[in-house]
Amino acid sequence: MKGRPKKLIWGGGLFLCLLFTFSLSVSLGSTHIDMMTVWKVIGEKWGVGNGSGINATDAVIIWQLRLPRVLLVALVGAILAIAGVVYQGILQNPLADPYILGVSSGASVGAVLAIVTSWGAALLGGWSLPAFAFAGACLALALVLMLARGRSGLNVISLILSGVVVQSFFAALLTFALSFKPEEMQRIQFWLMGGFSLGDWNQVGAVFPFLLIGFPACWLMSADLNLMALGERAAAHLGVNVAKTRVCLLLIASMMTSAAVAVSGMIGFVGLVIPHIMRMLTGADHRSLLPLSALAGAILLLLADCLARTLIAPAELPIGVITSFVGVPFFALILKRHQRKKGE
């Protein structure tokens, strides 16, 4: 099977898979609730169905506790995967990902700064956290790009090294902040490894607009992203405004990343693993790669969250631990493949 039908089937399959992991994720927990009830509760809230045979406690657990959290997980997963596709496409670097590039750590520092100092709270109100996170993300990305840009453009390995250096610096800043405010230990720890234990409807509302605007914006530029794969010069000769495209997409991806980080902390490797898998399965055309990666990113993070909640229940693992367990071997694999290709 070739071309369009194959991609549509992948899209449909992934969507069904997302619905399934979504319901599985809501039904899992200290009180087990079966999947049918999950959809009955959602149906009742939307005014479909009459809600007969639903236990009131179950309804509260689902609607107030689990649903916002699970939605948040899915949103963040989709956002991180999209950001990964964009970073890899624009930087032409197979190892790029918001976490590895240090963008997530920059956003974390921004977010922690906003919380600890409550600067800007008067002016920006509820937006001060994402705004600070975005500023941190942009600062980190600018630093990484400045460090990595050599005479011959962006080298794959030096970009990763710069990412590591910048990330260590921002992690040190976080620890520094931690030593001033030991009472914030719990919360700062949370930023370092990521987590959704604080997820509620407000946060879903805060992140959703970023996906709603960010995804179509990236998707509209998918033809430009495809051409960038030919190399910057070739893209320019085909009529792409390379500088504008690069700045636009990097800003959008960083903004989406910082929105995700602001609610969930640093979660690594989703943006690395998903674009690679989807590219292998369905090809590198960004018009299909972006939506399919968004779906797959949501699925992967939902599964990781299920594991994080159940492995050492009733306690909970930081979700970043799970994604790192999956992502680090994957990273090693891609690095090796890249070295073989370049004969390094």
Binding site: K2, G3, L220, M221, A223, N226, L227, A229, L230, G231, R233, A234, A236, H237, L238, G239, V240, N241, R279, M280, G283, A284, D285, R287, K341
Partner: protein
């Protein structure tokens, strides 16, 4: 089609290119020759609008080249840069379709005409049977053919190529140049091409331009450019010249340096 007047380009206080006057007429194939570092690639970058010249100006169809928007320019000029296509995870057809980018708006992707053009290009270049193959599976020669097909899909009036045959064996070199020649005669395409091989340049180009240290040594028909004196001046080697038995253009023979007599 393309004119350069007193074109100059400076980098780090040194002139890479100086006082270049060049005129490429519609429908002709002009070859650019010169030793390594003589400014061939710099000239190409300035002529295609990729770099801004530090002196003089470049005019494309009578208008200054920097007045065109990137997409407008890409509808007139297609460029095949020196770097070969990498091992990217696209199919042959997808890469060829990228050539249609300058004709597409952000809101509508591919029209029926885009598909027609791509299909005909794929057939003309003999890539039709392998259009679903991944680029990474192809050989260097096939990949270069895909790159040329992409520029054909761009439907340019002027095609600029920077050493398109460098990494290819003789069979593929000839195949690529024959394809260009056919395209030139059938569609009235104008071609500006940088070549390393003097003999191929003499065989295929209508006119040649010879560069040395960023200046133009001479330009004209192959017979006028490929002469013993000019080659010696531009490359610092002394060639033997003969006329091609069937094409009647000058051909260069090289000889090992003679040992100096004591």
């Amino acid at each position: 089609m393309l004119q350069a007047a007193r074109l100059g380009k400076k980098a780090g206080g040194r002139w890479l290119l100086q006082e270049i006057d060049l005129c490429v007429e519609k429908g002709e194939m002009v070859g650019v020759l010169g030793a390594n570092g003589s400014g061939k690639s710099t000239l190409i970058r300035c002529l295609t609008g990729e770099w801004k010249a530090d002196s003089g100006e470049v005019r494309l169809k009578g208008e200054r080249i920097d007045t065109y928007s990137p997409k407008e320019r890409a509808r007139i000029v297609a460029v095949l840069a020196q770097e070969p296509l990498g091992e990217i995870e696209f199919t042959v057809e997808e890469v060829v379709k990228m050539g249609r980018y300058p004709y597409q708006s952000r809101w509508s992707w591919a029209s029926g005409r885009d598909f027609d053009v791509c299909d005909s290009v794929l057939r003309q270049t003999g890539l039709w049977p392998m259009k679903q193959r991944q680029l990474a599976e192809l050989s260097g020669g096939e990949r270069q053919r895909v790159a040329i097909a992409r520029t054909m899909a761009q439907e340019p009036e002027l095609l600029v190529l920077d050493e398109p045959t460098t990494f290819l064996d003789i069979r593929h070199q000839l195949a690529i140049l024959d394809l260009l020649k056919k395209w030139q005669s059938e569609c009235g395409l104008t071609i500006l091409i940088v070549l390393h091989d003097l003999n191929l340049a003499a065989q295929y180009c209508d006119r040649l331009v010879l560069l040395k240290e960023g200046r133009m040594v001479t330009s004209g028909v192959p017979k006028a450019v490929i002469t013993r004196e000019r080659i010696e001046e531009a490359y610092g080697v002394t060639p033997l010249l003969m006329t091609h038995p069937t094409l009647h253009v000058p051909q260069v023979f090289l000889q090992p340096a003679k040992e100096e007599k004591k």
